[in-house]
């Protein structure tokens, strides 16, 4: 498992365009340390290969929606947050993946 260091947290914060003070970084490091200890304990539990992973905290289910057209945003609403618009489309610097 990747080691969580102060440098890594600062790099992650920078990537996410925010920063924290020293005390907050220290709290986060301690939380990660606790979390890793808990993971180690869980890792020691034996014979769990046949156990279905729990993805929801209690039995629940969703339902299917009827295929009926609903309301949409107006064009103005859709484009409201865009910095630049051209031909009613959102304009971005070219980034081809």
């Amino acid at each position: 498992m990747k080691e969580v260091t102060l440098e890594l947290l600062k790099q992650c914060a920078n990537n996410l365009l925010f920063d924290m003070d020293q005390e907050q970084y220290q709290t986060l490091l301690e939380e990660f340390a606790t979390l890793f200890k808990q993971m180690e304990l869980i890792g020691k539990i034996e014979d769990i290969d046949s156990v279905t992973p729990l993805t929801f905290p209690y039995p629940c289910q969703s339902y299917l929606r009827e295929d009926i057209e609903g309301e949409t945003l107006t064009l103005e609403e859709t484009l409201k947050n865009a910095k630049e618009v051209e031909d009613n489309q959102i304009k971005l610097p070219k980034v081809v993946l």
């Binding site: 969703s62 929606r65 057209e69 070219k94």
Partner: protein
């Protein structure tokens, strides 16, 4: 050294539902940019996805037609990546539990029937459409959230021809089950091909190259055949195949490099927490299957049973919409051949000339059936029927009324026909002699003379019959 190609194909099919996969925004092609967008499609905070019932029914139908095991519990997962085509920062898909798995289709390969195994079929949402211009990119979110099914084959395909047949078979299945319009040129059926070469007899796979954005079935074949030649050339000259993504250049008829591949991307899949499991009852799944439209093969068999030949049946089946119109025409199982002739002759030519689709054709099936009944009963000739049809396409008027207005009636009076025939025989002794000497064309000429004398009003079938009798008596 001989090489064999190992080819796997991923096909994305856009479903033609009324609304999107996880939101109720309208779902159709060709709307003005960014007009079919809901808060969920733009990932506005506080929005929650809901699963489209019809999309699930469609996925069950296609899974069944592909002979797959159908999962009766739906789970969805998040595929996380950061890119401008995906406002949420993740795509909702089915990674762990595809709705369909372990299926197959049978295709006609060059060596006969061949089974192509299909690993999985899953549902997911489409991304927004990006238009990459020279220095910038434009985004249209109309497509974001369009319901998709992705069909992943196992690497059973060996050449371009098999790949073409496989994609065509999948297209036929999704079109005739009414799940998608399957238009590759509009992007509603998109396929990516993975291809590697290995020496014949070798069990280890070679380095895989991906070919993206193939926009027609014939380009699938051309791209693969080119890629096999390209990779063989490199390997035979001692080179190494690099792992890369390529695209097919239609002008050059070759694949060109898009990008080199590095390590595979880790999408950090995890269960979509906003959609709890959905349990499908056996009854729900069975009903989805039972209410599926007939397959192309079933329709073909039906047409053959009604007297069409294989070429005629296949011609109607080239278009799903055309075959649906034809199905309405032959509901009464009458006048089948005449209806086929009218539809694939006069009607199709009218549609092509006026650049309209059969769905927009004004003439109702019941009126076309009435026209065919007039022709088959001998009331009017086929040519007179064509004249009536030319009027019907204007206002979908009753063909019987048009017949009355135009004064079109076929003369089937045997006495009249006999006197026309006698006149033609008298005027054309050379043709009689030619016919008796084995020139069949002379007979057609004589029938034509009778039609001319009667101004096209006599029944041509009866003319042939009477003419033959009269000549035989001579």
């Amino acid at each position: 050294m001989n090489f064999e190609a190992v080819i796997g194909i991923e096909i994305h099919v856009e479903m033609k539902t009324k609304s999107k996969m996880f939101s109720s925004s309208p779902n159709y092609f060709g709307a003005s940019p960014n007009t079919l967008v809901s808060p969920l499609d733009m990932a506005f905070p506080g929005t929650m996805p809901t699963v489209n019932k019809q999309a699930v029914i469609n996925a069950i139908r296609v899974s069944n037609l592909l002979n797959m095991e159908i999962d009766h519990t739906l789970y969805f997962d998040r595929k996380n990546y950061f890119y401008s085509d995906l406002p949420k920062g993740y795509q909702i898909t089915q990674n762990d539990r595809p709705i369909g798995k372990n299926g197959y289709v049978i295709i006609d390969s060059l060596d006969g029937k061949k089974k192509i195994e299909i690993e999985r079929l899953h549902m997911e949402e489409d991304t927004c459409k990006q238009l990459h211009l020279s220095t910038y990119t434009l985004l249209d979110y109309n497509r974001a959230g369009t319901p998709l099914i992705e069909i992943v084959s196992r690497p059973d395909i060996k050449n371009g021809y098999e790949a073409m047949k496989y994609v065509d078979k999948i297209r036929e299945i999704v079109v005739f089950s009414n799940v998608s319009d399957g238009k590759m040129e509009e992007g509603s059926l998109r396929c990516d091909v993975n291809i590697s070469l290995r020496p014949v007899g070798e069990s280890k796979f070679g380095t895989k190259v991906e070919i993206k954005n193939l926009n027609s079935v014939s380009n699938v074949q051309k791209a693969i055949d080119f890629e096999i030649r390209r990779q063989s050339g490199i390997l035979l000259s001692g080179g190494i195949i690099s792992q890369e993504t390529r695209r097919f250049d239609e002008t050059k008829k070759e694949t060109v490099l898009m990008r080199k591949k590095t390590d595979s991307v880790d999408y950090k899949y995890f269960r979509e927490p906003n959609i709890a499991p959905i349990y499908l009852s056996d009854e729900f799944v069975q009903k989805a299957i039972d209410t599926c439209l007939p397959s192309l093969d079933q329709k073909r068999d039906y047409y053959l049973s009604l007297g069409l030949n294989i070429d005629e049946a296949n011609q109607v089946l080239l278009s799903f919409e055309m075959s649906n119109y034809f199905d309405k025409l032959i509901e009464g199982k009458k006048y089948v051949k005449t209806l086929w002739n009218l539809l694939m002759g006069e009607v199709l030519s009218y549609l092509n000339k006026n650049e309209i689709e059969i769905n927009d054709f004004i003439v109702t099936p019941s009126n076309l059936v009435t026209l065919a009944s007039l022709i088959d009963s001998g009331e009017i000739s086929f040519n007179q029927g064509k004249k009536i049809l030319q009027e019907m396409v204007k206002n979908d008027d009753d063909p019987k009324k048009i017949q009355e207005v135009l004064g079109l009636k076929q003369n089937s009076n045997l006495g009249d026909i006999e006197s026309f025939c006698k006149e033609a025989i008298k005027n054309n002794p050379q043709s009689i002699s030619d016919y008796k000497n084995g020139k069949d064309r002379a007979f057609s000429f004589l029938v034509g003379q009778v039609m001319k004398l009667s101004k096209g009003k006599v029944n041509p079938q009866l003319v042939s019959k009477v003419m033959k009798e009269l000549i035989d008596k001579e």
